[in-house]
């Protein structure tokens, strides 16, 4: 099987696997007073420092969570309290579900948030703005630094979902100027089950979603999953950017376009590992199934728990019309090779030839 669905989950990095195994071999709860507890706490705090260093934040800024979804929910809960909510039109469901009724910040046809519209939306009482660093379906990068400056000038807060960007492009929390930032372990080659919310020093005292035993300085209750967190830190340290993948991604796009595809979001700055390919007239789910049967793992739309391919709100927000239901996402993992690209290109060409019809 050729795995090209890294934005769903990255393959585990060897350094992460070693760190997970080492942590599994240990015993101890970081909250305990004895030697085993101290050893566990040291592992936890080493991981916290590694994450903080890697993403340009002080260690005290890092709150470990179960993953990106919880980090997003915690940010909206803690920073959005008593504020108007403004979310980007192409945000992940982790944000959309946490901020029902929020004002929507529109994007252009290229998928990039309209900063002029943001300026208008910021008129009024203080707001929390949620804008993702990179989109999971198209890889389109958002102007989060510019948005942070606008928010600061208007007394608004900015939460950045950096789940897809982290480890793939440069990301410096302090330099960004956002109030919080969500990270996920398994999207950068660590194990699933860990994530983090980075909080700016100026962020307000955080009311937890889960209070429990007061772990994470009272900001997130529950015994932290040390093996997952150790793997997260190791993966983050190793994930030094995905620039190596850009030429592979470009080769995939050339092959797909030659077979009749349209690249979505091509006009915008994008993640180096992600491409969104529409095949006019062919339903996305048919493409995904046909490629799966050919041994190529890609995805489309938002994966629902039922397994059906739901229509993509991201592509709808970009005003793509019928193409929104005809696009697949190819996302290269850190381990991708030229052979993977060749296999994809061959399978895609066959699928496109078999399925291509004149659009109705």
């Amino acid at each position: 099987m050729i795995y090209l669905d890294a934005n769903a989950t990255e393959p585990l990095r060897p350094a992460a696997q070693a760190a997970v195994l080492a942590a599994l071999a240990g015993v101890g709860n970081p909250s305990s007073v004895h030697a085993a507890g101290r050893a566990a706490r040291r592992r936890l705090e080493d991981a916290r420092e590694a994450i903080a260093t890697r993403f340009g934040a002080p260690p005290g800024a890092v709150v470990f969570t179960s993953g990106g979804t919880e980090a997003d929910a915690l940010a909206v809960h803690a920073l959005g309290r008593g504020r108007r909510l403004i979310v980007g039109a192409t945000e992940h469901d982790a944000i959309r579900a946490a901020a029902p009724g929020a004002a929507i910040l529109r994007v252009g046809r290229d998928g990039v948030a309209d900063l002029g519209a943001l300026r208008d939306l910021l008129e009024g009482p203080p707001a929390l703005v949620c804008l993702m660093a990179a989109n999971n379906e198209t890889g389109v990068l958002q102007p989060v630094a510019e948005a942070a400056a606008l928010c600061r000038a208007r007394g608004a807060r900015l939460h950045v979902d950096a789940v897809q960007a982290a480890g793939r492009i440069a990301l410096d929390f302090a330099g960004l100027g956002a109030d919080s930032l969500a990270l996920s372990s398994h999207k950068l080659g660590g194990p699933a089950g860990a994530g983090a919310l980075l909080l700016a020093p100026a962020a307000p005292d955080l009311t937890p979603l889960i209070a429990g035993g007061g772990q994470e300085r009272g900001r997130r209750g529950g015994t932290p999953p040390l093996p997952a967190i150790a793997g997260f830190a190791a993966a983050a340290a190793e994930a030094g950017g995905a620039d190596r993948l850009a030429p592979l991604r470009d080769a995939i796009e050339r092959a797909a376009v030659a077979a009749g595809a349209v690249v979505i979001g091509a006009a915008a700055p994008r993640l180096p590992n992600t491409t969104c390919l529409a095949l006019p007239g062919v339903r996305a789910e048919t493409q995904v199934i046909a490629l799966d049967l050919a041994g190529i793992a890609v995805s489309a739309g938002a994966a629902c728990s039922s397994g059906k391919v739901a229509r993509s709100h991201v592509l709808d927000a970009m005003g793509l019309g019928p193409l929104a239901g005809e696009a697949i996402r190819v996302s290269l993992p850190w381990s991708a090779t030229e052979a993977d690209v060749a296999a994809f290109a061959a399978a895609y060409r066959q699928v496109a030839e078999r399925l291509a019809r004149v659009p109705a």
Partner: protein, 353 residues
């Protein structure tokens, strides 16, 4: 060969997938998401998929075959549920399973099967495909209690050629359950599904009323002579040939009465003698699975009734049927023609006016 199996999550289609996989075919399981289960069940926060999709995936996991869930909600809503409501609003009694077979299953799903390079699509229907030098024929199932040929009359010859119905020769449902158990399928003991899949707890009028409130507008119950004998709360709640919901009107004048007509335009339920009925019935949307010509054969005007002797004449836009004995034919239901076990074709019953 590569076969797409339409898997509903029930024991029948699961057994089909199991038997074909066991026979060495390359089986691709597909389950159609036809409606939002959470919304249909009225349970807030319930998953849109429901237990049946979960069961289908577990069966596919067990068999080690790929399985996909296809979002057919929009198509099902437009082609099946909307038609269901419109038909009731017009005073008919629709058969949504036939519409679903015509559109979502034997058209859309079969198109997907071809797109995926499949040579056949298999379903868990209880009918038999009989291959002859002149092409495939559709026949009643071996088990008369399970026969679903009436619901498949609209399958076109081309669709029939592409289809497989491995359960048509099963002696009975118990035999299917035994096969499912032998294959170790987790659904072997699952209860049969009931009634119309998208109507929760049998309250079809609610579904109709949501889409076509006019179908539930109150009106008069009248005799064929025009005498008002009662009131009703929507023509959609009535079916020609039945006495349900007639109240006192069912016995007005001392004689037993049933619905003999539904006049949607005037919101009238017409009652009359259960022995009334027509000897001539006209059909629309005829589908022929044999050469269309005048024939003496048998026909079923309801899903569950014995075939009766008829003469059928093809017409420009359907067919005309002469019945040996008068019958209360419900508009919107199917009239399906048989030669012994073979399905010759069928159409939808038109209102007499």
């Amino acid at each position: 060969m590569r076969v797409l199996v339409a898997m509903s999550g029930g024991v029948d289609s699961s057994t089909v997938a199991g038997l074909l996989a066991e026979a060495g075919h390359t089986v691709i399981g597909v389950t159609l998401q036809l409606y939002d289960f959470g919304a249909a069940s009225g349970r807030k926060g319930a998953c849109c998929a429901g237990q049946d999709i979960f069961d289908a995936r577990r069966v596919a996991d067990h068999l080690g075959i790929p399985h996909y869930v296809i979002d057919a909600e929009a198509r099902f809503r437009d082609a099946v549920i909307a038609d269901f409501a419109a038909s009731y609003a017009a005073g008919e009694t629709p058969v949504p399973c036939v519409r679903c077979n015509q559109t979502v299953k034997f058209h859309d799903l079969a198109t997907l099967a071809r797109d995926l390079g499949c040579e056949r699509m298999a379903t868990g229907h209880y009918v038999r495909r009989v291959d002859t030098p002149a092409g495939a024929e559709l026949h009643r199932a071996r088990d008369p209690a399970r026969d679903q040929s009436w619901f498949l009359f609209a399958t076109t010859p081309a669709q029939l050629e592409f289809s497989l119905f491995p359960l048509g020769d099963m002696p009975d449902k118990d035999a299917v359950r035994r096969e499912a158990a032998r294959l170790g399928l987790p659904v072997a003991a699952k209860p049969d599904s009931q009634d119309i899949c998208f109507v929760p707890a049998g309250s079809y009028a609610e579904v109709v009323g949501r889409l076509r409130p006019d179908a539930l507008t109150p009106g008069e119950i009248v005799t064929e002579a025009g005498e008002v004998v009662g009131r009703h709360d929507g023509v959609a709640r009535y079916t020609v040939g039945q006495a349900r919901r007639l109240g006192a009107a069912a016995r007005a004048g001392g004689a037993r009465r049933v619905v003999v007509g539904l006049d949607a335009a005037r919101r009238r339920v017409v009652v009359g003698s259960p022995d009334a009925g027509r000897r001539v019935v006209r059909l629309r949307e005829m589908n022929w699975l044999a050469e269309p010509r005048p024939r003496r054969c048998t026909a079923k005007l309801r899903a569950r009734e014995a075939p009766q002797a008829v003469e059928v004449m093809p017409t420009a836009d359907g067919a005309e049927v002469r019945l040996a004995a008068p019958a209360l034919a419900a508009p919107g239901q199917a009239c399906v023609f048989y030669d012994e076990s073979r399905v010759l074709g069928g159409g939808f019953i038109l209102a007499p006016w």
